[in-house]
């Protein structure tokens, strides 16, 4: 009686296992769906990305369940990465199941790859996903070497001071500018930052 049920279960399990070996994969078609209208809307309304300053504030304020994901290769990551970022190549990112409630921010060098990863994660059904539109370059330019207008007043002054404080929090060097903004090379920006140690 009990032995019979056990035998039946065992036979069923072994058969299902054998058939599984033949079936190969439980997925018979692509498992992502693209709601293009919704995605286009997100892009249009700029709900798809965050600015470097916004991200910096999230990191500084320890936004709960925030995951900052760097999709570049390990050499680039080791050379410089945004604080608290974790490195995951794009192929691993699309396989990762994120916890409900996690906020994901993707970034790459310039932002193009991160934007692609954003589309893929949205297609997989992730809700709280953003990317850093300007990538590491934007982080370096807007946070680490933030440009602080010299003659700002009132609200603009407050905002400028807040960004300057944010920059210093991450060990950055805000720079006072008047009106002309010199174009910095990527290398110059990273060199400036690395010079501060850590």
């Amino acid at each position: 009686m009990k032995t019979l049920s056990l035998r039946i279960l065992a036979v069923v399990a072994l058969s299902l296992a054998g058939l599984a070996a033949f079936a190969g994969s439980p997925r018979r078609r692509a498992t992502a769906s693209l709601d293009v209208a919704a995605l286009a809307h997100d892009v249009q309304t700029e709900a798809d990305h965050v600015t470097a300053v916004e991200l910096a504030r999230w990191i500084r304020d320890r936004k709960p369940a925030l995951r900052v994901i760097d999709i570049r290769d390990s050499a680039e990551f080791d050379e410089y990465h945004i604080p608290r970022a974790e490195r995951l190549p794009i192929e691993a990112v699309v396989k990762t199941s994120f916890q409900p409630g996690e906020t994901i921010v993707l970034y790459s060098g310039g932002g193009a790859h991160a934007a692609q990863a954003w589309v893929l994660l949205k297609a997989r059904g992730e809700k709280d996903v953003f990317f850093l539109r300007g990538g590491v370059a934007e982080w370096l330019d807007e946070v680490m070497n933030a440009r602080i207008p010299a003659n700002a007043t009132g609200e603009a002054r407050e905002e400028a001071d807040s960004v300057a404080a944010l920059s210093r929090y991450f060990g950055g060097v805000p720079r006072q500018v008047d009106s002309v903004v010199p174009i910095q090379s990527f290398k110059a920006m990273t060199a400036r930052v690395r010079g501060r140690g850590c």
Binding site: A10, A13, A21, A23, G24, P26, R27
Partner: protein
Amino acid sequence: MIAPFFENGVFGETASLGVALAIGIAFGWFLERSGMGSARKLAGQFYLRDLTVFKVMFTAIITAMLGVFWLGWAGALDVDRIFVPETWILPQLAGGVIFGIGFAISGLCPGTSCVAAATGRIDGLAVVAGMFAGVLGTGLLFTRLQAFYFSTPRGVYTLPQLFNASQGAIVFGVVLIAFAGFRIAEMIERRFTRASIE
């Protein structure tokens, strides 16, 4: 593709807590039914007297594993929406070793210690208290462990990827290994025909 129901928005957060309670009750029921709430019985595994732990655990693993595969194949379950724990090779190896030592010392694991405590076992309560202290202590010292904790990440990394085999082939392999294990377990237990102490 209707499942996982929660991931597809069939019900909300509050209802999910009701589900948690129901699933927990069933979980506790089957743990107690199989004797997993008894430290003496669990310890029997490691002295090769009573291999119930192995039988219960691996039967549960292959049941759920086969269920996921075939429900996925049938199109009823979107397997990509299931949260798969990520892999960190070194911390999980070290954590496993440390956990195993703790298991041998206490005779219970976190889930079964709750069952033991619920069924009147004072040693179960002691394990619960110890676990709480251990987790709290480790959390408080987290900054010291942080680097190791986050080392060797692999993201979502599964056996099919590791062995470059299809999921079905791995399912088949795991079931075969489980059944071989069951056979060996029966043989070992027959050598020690001492009856399970209740």
